[in-house]
Symmetry: C2
């Protein structure tokens, strides 16, 4: 009868945001919109922890990833692509599609990138102009050590650090300016609690300088054009107006809660979920450095992740995510980023216990819930 959404994007949209977006549409070339857009710009800078402009693209997050690749680099440029999951692969596909020469830093799915390895590859490949990475690899539930990697890239004047923060921005601490990250990308349907359809990208001064040299053809994702418009509280092309209105509401909520509290809430939910999962005799897929955005649970012997996901859906009308590509069926992924609070986690851990029980896995009912309760009390 009731439906539940625990996938790492789209995440649930708060009711007040849904209702605000359901108001009659307004015109984007009028003052009422520009005024709101100005406030949104400030809110996004707060969220990204940057003084730079945060550009709003009407696109999925992948559109902003493309914008990073097509605006910063030139055909033939070497880039270092960190691959430790499906979204790392996407950076590689983008780099190849635009004629770059990627050097791959591959790490096993489920493990974080090793900064030492990245430093070594940069030393070995002095022509590399950028490091492309995820802050939180959504396909594996692993957090990469962005701070450490930024310490390696920041002093190099000809290397930019390009971070896909799609399940990181608004989830955990990643101050763009303070850490010296050059590009941060995110999307609307994760910690921003909106429907998908907006992507965001911010560039450091170093990145803007590099963009001046780029020769890749582009138009819709021409970031300089977006910057010029943004400074006039506008967009170069008709934006997804209703989503930007929702964004205004969401940013107000995040500012009211306070970014530190938002991070603490995510960490608390994530920690409790991880401990509850372990208390049920299950293992995390993340060998280290699990992301506070989502928990990837390794399927135990004899349990098929596809069957488990189906059980969640059929018995509890609850959507969790499965594994992608080579880990399909091997994991399920439980989201706790965005509009989630402790009460929500009882639902998903309860459903996990009962679903595993139903599939014949020897779980002690209540074992996960007990630990969850202890952790969240």
């Amino acid at each position: 009868m009731k439906s539940y959404l625990f996938a790492p994007g789209p995440t649930p949209v708060p009711e007040n945001v849904l209702l605000r977006m359901a108001a009659p549409i307004i015109h984007h070339r009028e003052k009422v919109f520009s005024d709101l857009f100005g406030e949104v710009r400030e809110g996004l800078k707060y969220l990204f922890q940057t003084k730079q402009e945060v550009l709003i693209l009407t696109a999925s997050g992948t559109g902003a990833m493309e914008g990073a690749v097509s605006n910063l680099f030139s055909k033939g440029d070497q880039v270092l692509v960190v691959r430790a999951g499906k979204f790392g692969q996407r950076w590689g596909e983008l780099a190849e599609a635009f004629g770059l020469s990627p050097v791959y830093a591959d790490f096993p799915w489920g493990e974080p990138a090793d900064p030492e390895k990245i430093k070594q590859l940069l030393d070995e490949n002095p022509a590399v102009k950028g490091v492309l990475i995820q802050a939180s690899e959504t396909s594996t539930g692993v957090m990469h050590p962005i701070r450490e990697i930024a310490e390696i890239t920041a002093p190099r004047q000809d290397v930019v650090l390009v971070v896909d923060g799609i399940t990181a921005v608004g989830v955990f601490e990643m101050p763009m300016d303070a850490w010296g990250i050059d590009v941060v990308v995110t999307g609307s349907q994760k910690a921003l609690m909106l429907p998908p359809g907006l992507a965001f990208i911010s560039l450091s001064e170093k990145a803007w300088r590099m963009a001046e040299q780029s020769d890749i053809p582009r138009y819709y994702f021409d970031l300089k054009k977006h910057l010029d418009s943004a400074q006039k509280n506008q967009t170069p092309y008709t934006p997804a107006i209703s989503l930007i209105i929702g964004l205004h509401e969401v940013l107000s909520m995040l500012m009211e809660e306070g970014l530190e509290n938002v991070f603490t809430r995510h960490h608390r939910l994530a920690e409790a979920t991880r401990e509850a999962v372990k208390a049920m005799g299950l293992q995390l897929f993340a060998k280290a450095s699990p992301s506070d955005a989502l928990t990837a649970v390794q399927m135990p012997e004899g349990i098929d992740g596809i069957e488990l996901k189906k059980t969640f859906l059929e018995r509890y009308d609850m959507v969790v995510a499965g594994g992608q590509n080579q880990i399909k069926g091997k994991i399920i992924r439980i989201a706790h980023l965005g509009y989630f609070d402790p009460m929500d986690m009882f639902q998903v851990i309860g459903a996990l216990e009962m679903s595993l029980h139903k599939l014949g896995y020897p779980v002690e009912l209540g074992s996960g819930l007990k630990v969850l309760s202890e952790k969240l009390a």
Copy 2:
């Protein structure tokens, strides 16, 4: 107290559509979404009057225009770009951004393209691989003779006709397959009565064949990838889910009304608006072939379009569009595409009469309304 929107995009969104989009978000990789997506695909084929797939992009209409350019052509290719307004210019900007060699067919703003001239240019430039044009030039309110131009391009095996139908699809008759149009593009925020954020593009078999030769780098707008996903009721990247749910509702409304009736309604509102405007002593900006999507009204001696637009807004909280680029201040544009019926037109014509009166233009109050009433009775 009440607000009114008569700009040619975004256009008003029906209340039932707003409410449907305000329902809790669903996940795009689940059956509930795929089933809905399958119905949407059928509805879009009906709307485009084609057997081809209509691809849904999460982007503004410009994104689909870029998709046409970057998927069909190769660097250095000659294309014939029809420019008779701001959106014709956009085709030119896109062609240049992607390294094509545009041949320009320029016509005065306010006039339709001359098919004879296009035929002549195609004969003189046998290397031209595509004609890029608007069906309805939103900046001038003029309709180009797409049917006649398609008769010229259809027999040429190496020339595609690429039509920006952003204010044409769902407004007036333009059957893609029957007329032999190769590419049709539209956006969500016009006749489709949705917020902006979705763009649509459909390719003929000839266009898909040409796309196989294209060497322009692309990723987010790689149409072949969108086609492969669409055939599985999916999108390659997370789509704007809530807008696609709204689209499902809107397509049901259009199918229930029937496309022929939709076209008749638009024509009736457009004719009545044009006659009402003329009855007030004003002239249409379109010298011929006015579009049924919107009416561009030439400002009479002594009336500044910017002032008039401002008067609409300040006195009646009504948004109409002004002129763009070189005709800024010279026209206002009144929309009648999408969720409009005869009652709406009384509001905008009433406001036009009163606003002109307020600005000192010698309009006989009621003169436009009388003709509107006669035409719509």
